[in-house]
């Protein structure tokens, strides 16, 4: 006898758990199936060496939507911040760092003119981020069918644009399609400031500073400020603690979560998605299937192209989803010594990207399937704020490293050791002696991230965040508003509007849409 469920949700990533919680709050019975042994997806903590654990995918919390946090009552379910309002520090080999938090920037090598220019720039772009945040909080409107709610969303967007005032509206329209390099050149002199903001624009994407869409990438990141984050925050216990809190919240609302239950296919019943088959061979029937997996995994992998029409198969196959970020985890037998930073300052977000051309060159490599010779790094030393992540007196360093291709020539195993060495050499430029402190190390390549977190291409956002793949075109034209293009199958992950980044909005919006559609879903 096959089990019959109201809703089966594939993947206990953070968006999946958020979606399940909202659905359960509305009285729906939800079964969440997770292939891994812990909930949270990219919000994960893992022990990578005995006694040393680390946020193994996402490392900073800076975009989680406050409404989601409140509705799931995450604090009650155990979410605690180890630190917040963490500044970003662009490292300098001589110790003349640049520090940025919110509208404020300081450093030995930045002019007062640039400080003032950044203040103004920050204020102006904050307004754009606010407009974007509004758009992110609702389902994307469809353009062709004249639905009243969609018209209202479009009117609100138009009105929001208008409310910016003539100059700001014109400025936003002018910059939103261009690249961050040009925008930096026209606003600032400081190579450090330009590099820091450029790095924020390209993190997690397959883009360099001169790639179109990177201004959008920058504004996307700035949405975190609208949601109440000044700089970034660090979760106590690592990002996995957030996953655990979300899972606890979901269970409290009646959601059933099965771990170690890998879905091997989404099954059609007639012309609808009507269930799933597990790797164990077990079959489950469902009134609705909701997938937190990325669109390519969901549609090309689990459902299969043959269950969709040709035009849709073509669009799915063309989703751009190449990641370029790797993760480096180091177990250290002491606190590293970064030139020009004291022990407490090591708890900040440390960035290696001396100037924009450095980032561009690092990106050039992956365009040709090569590994960056001089990569960009976004470093955290979580044990500064949360000593429990390592044995007493020991430390953990974790870094997002760009750019690393999904599949370098010769395969990753031919490059893994060399690349780790290269990264240690690079770190040693800013933290002399760090090599000698390394007890254990781990490198997660984009291919590893795909394997461990089910993200096609190792892409954080489950699909590039570029203007052809956002809003009503996300994940592809014809599948917006969380419907997948297949009856009975919905998408609730980062591949759906608005995108990834431990925000929780894709999951929330998807649940609200499914609830709104009711029996018609």
């Amino acid at each position: 006898m096959t089990e019959r469920h109201d809703i089966v949700l594939v993947g206990a990533g953070h968006n999946g758990l958020v979606c399940a919680s909202y659905l359960a709050s509305a009285g729906r019975k939800v079964l969440v199936l997770e292939s891994g042994d812990s909930p949270g997806g990219a919000a994960a903590t893992r022990e990578f060496a005995p006694g040393y654990s680390v946020s193994s995918c996402a490392q900073w919390l800076h975009q989680l939507h406050p409404q989601v946090s409140r509705d799931l009552d995450l604090e009650k379910h155990g979410l605690q911040l180890a630190a917040k309002d963490i500044a970003s520090v662009l490292l300098d080999a001589e110790g003349q760092h640049l520090t940025l938090l919110g509208p404020d920037v300081r450093g030995d090598r930045i002019s007062s003119g640039d400080i003032a220019a950044y203040h103004a720039f920050h204020g102006r772009t904050a307004k754009y981020a606010k407009l974007l945040a509004k758009v992110f909080e609702a389902r994307p409107p469809k353009l062709v069918e004249s639905n009243f709610a969609d018209r209202l969303s479009l009117i609100r967007l138009g009105l929001g644009l208008k409310m910016l005032g003539r100059d700001d509206m014109r400025d936003l329209m002018r910059i939103v399609l261009i690249n961050i390099y040009d925008l930096m050149q026209e606003n600032f002199d400081s190579p450090q400031l330009k590099a820091l903001l450029s790095l924020d624009s390209v993190l997690g994407s397959h883009m360099g500073p001169r790639t179109p869409n990177t201004v959008f990438g920058y504004l996307y990141r700035r949405v975190g400020e609208v949601f109440g984050y000044q700089g970034v925050a660090q979760v106590k216990g690592g990002m996995g603690a957030l996953g655990d809190a979300m899972a606890a919240a979901a269970r409290a609302k009646g959601v059933e979560i099965r771990l170690d239950a890998r879905v091997s296919s989404i099954d059609m019943v007639g012309d609808r998605a009507g269930g799933v088959t597990l790797a164990s061979g077990e079959k489950l029937e469902a009134g609705l299937v909701v997938s937190n997996a990325d669109p390519l995994t969901t549609l090309a992998g689990l459902l299969g192209y043959r269950n969709m029409e040709t035009g849709m198969a073509r669009r799915v196959s063309q989703i751009r989803c190449r990641g370029g970020a790797a993760r480096l985890h180091l177990a250290l037998d002491g606190l590293p010594n970064f030139t020009g930073l004291d022990a407490q300052q090591l708890g900040q977000r440390l960035l290696i990207a001396p100037d924009m051309n450095y980032i561009e060159r690092a990106f050039n490599a992956v365009k040709y399937g090569e590994i960056s010779k001089a990569p960009v790094m976004d470093i955290s030393i979580p044990t500064v704020h949360d000593p429990a992540a390592a044995p007493t007196g020991k430390h953990v360093l974790s870094a997002t490293v760009q750019f690393a291709p999904f599949e370098p020539a010769g395969g990753w195993e031919a490059h893994r050791a060399d690349f780790t060495e290269r990264l240690l050499d690079l770190l040693a430029v800013y933290a002399p002696g760090i090599r000698e402190q390394v007890v254990a190390s781990e490198l997660l390549t984009p291919a590893d991230l795909q394997r461990d977190y089910g993200m096609t291409g190792g892409h954080w956002h489950h699909g590039e965040l570029s203007l052809d793949q956002v809003m009503m075109m996300r994940p592809f034209p014809g599948a917006s508003q969380y419907a997948s293009g297949i009856d009975g199958l919905y998408l609730c992950g980062a591949g759906a509007h608005p995108g990834g980044g431990v925000m929780g909005l894709a999951g929330r919006n998807a649940a609200l849409e499914i609830i709104r559609r009711g029996a018609a879903a």
Binding site: M268, G270, D271, A300, G304, Y305, R306, N307, M308, E309, T310, G311, M312, A313, R314, S317, G478, D487
Partner: protein, 394 residues
């Protein structure tokens, strides 16, 4: 000028030497880049060869795509609107295929050549669509358009002519059947198919054997009054028997530029080709919606009063325009004036009386006729000999 008359940018079919020799009018048209005769010597005589003896038409430019592999049937079933599993080995099926929004991209035939082995004959170039459609299927798609030469041999004496050429046992081949014969060391494939609505066959052979086939066929067919025919005669025959022509009676959906100019199978009177019981095929979701919400247009076959073909006519109802004619001809055998029209819903139901606004010219003098016409439900030419197996001994 130093340009030789045989220098042309047009492609030539494998039969070109024979076709050119027979083409007394030197009246050439372009079919997908191939130079093909509109008429050889007299359209009426060519037409009557189809209806009263044997007519031969060079259809080599037809696009032919080979589909092989373990998923060939599943692939075709997702591609086209009808149930391909019902086309057994050795059979041919007529079908249409749609894009995702349920608009007809083309019509054509599927030849089930063998286990996991099919050939699609199509009006439009389709290799990109066929390749995209192959995502997720274990199939190989090969464009065989230039590797297969083909002749249509149509008319009441066609079977007798082919028997005389040595195709023993051909009389047992049923309509839409498929068989093969040895031919001078090669294989000659014969299908009982055609575009004339008469008894007829289509012959498929390797291009280097084309001329030999033509020569043998015309030699054997001489006593059966065999005669080549061009596209103008074919046009008369196909209208008389109710066959749609892609690019004329509908715009292939992927080449339509303007929104709303393409048509669904329902709007072309081809609902009988659509099997909505199949859970997934291209256009199904849109066609289900159309079925629920209603179509925009209806295909109507019109019997028009008088003998002036209603070329390009507006169709009127109570003085208002409700449709346009896509194909029209005075049909000599049926002695009917037939037009195909796209009629705006809800008009165009069988039996409905409409008016065709016909313009014609005699020696620079234009005349407008408001010809009453009625919507008929079956083609005016549909003789029993088309289906008889074995065919009568004409």
């Amino acid at each position: 000028m130093n340009v030789k008359s045989d220098q042309t940018m047009m492609l030539r079919t494998p039969f070109h030497s024979r076709v050119a020799a027979a083409c007394e009018l030197n009246d050439w048209g372009s079919w997908k880049g191939y130079t093909t005769p509109r008429a050889y010597n007299d359209v009426e005589l060519e037409y009557f060869a189809i209806r009263n003896a044997t007519g031969v038409f060079d259809l080599s430019p037809m696009n032919k795509y080979r589909v092989t592999g373990a998923d060939a049937e599943a692939y075709l079933n997702r591609l086209v609107t009808r149930d391909v599993s019902k086309i057994r080995i050795g059979r041919v099926g007529y079908t249409v295929w749609c894009n995702d929004v349920g608009q007809v991209m083309d019509d054509g035939t599927i030849f089930h050549l063998g286990e996991n082995d099919y050939r699609i004959c199509a009006y439009a170039r389709a290799v990109d669509w066929l390749q995209w459609s192959a995502l997720g299927f274990d199939v190989e798609i090969v464009d065989e358009s230039d590797e297969v030469a083909a002749l249509a041999v149509q008319g009441p004496t066609s079977c007798a002519a082919l028997l005389a050429m040595g195709l023993a046992g051909l009389e047992q081949l049923k309509p839409f059947g498929l068989t093969s014969f040895p031919f001078e060391g090669e294989t000659l494939m014969v299908s009982r198919t055609g575009f004339t609505g008469d008894l007829g066959y289509e012959l498929w052979i390797a291009p280097h054997m084309a001329e030999a086939l033509w020569d043998r066929l015309f030699e054997a067919g001489k006593p059966h009054l065999i005669k080549p025919f061009g596209s103008d005669a074919l046009e008369l025959a196909r209208i008389e028997t109710g066959f749609l022509q892609a690019g004329v009676d509908f715009v292939p959906a992927e080449s339509a530029v303007r929104s709303g100019r393409s048509r669904s199978p329902f709007e072309l009177g081809l609902a009988w080709l659509v099997d909505l019981e199949k859970p997934v095929f291209n256009g199904r979701r849109a066609l289900l919606r159309e079925q629920a919400e209603g179509s925009r247009y209806r295909f109507a076959m019109l019997d028009v009063e008088g003998n002036k073909p209603a070329h390009n006519s507006f169709i009127l109802k109570g003085g208002n325009k409700v449709g346009t004619v896509t194909s029209a001809a005075w049909c000599p055998t049926a002695k009917s004036n037939i037009a195909f029209a796209q009629i705006e819903m809800p008009h165009g139901a069988v039996g409905e009386e409409l008016v065709a606004e016909v313009y014609y010219q005699r020696e620079l003098h234009w005349t407008r006729v408001l010809a009453p016409c009625s919507v008929i439900d079956t083609p005016v030419f549909n003789p029993p000999r088309r289906r008889a197996t074995p065919p009568g001994p004409f």
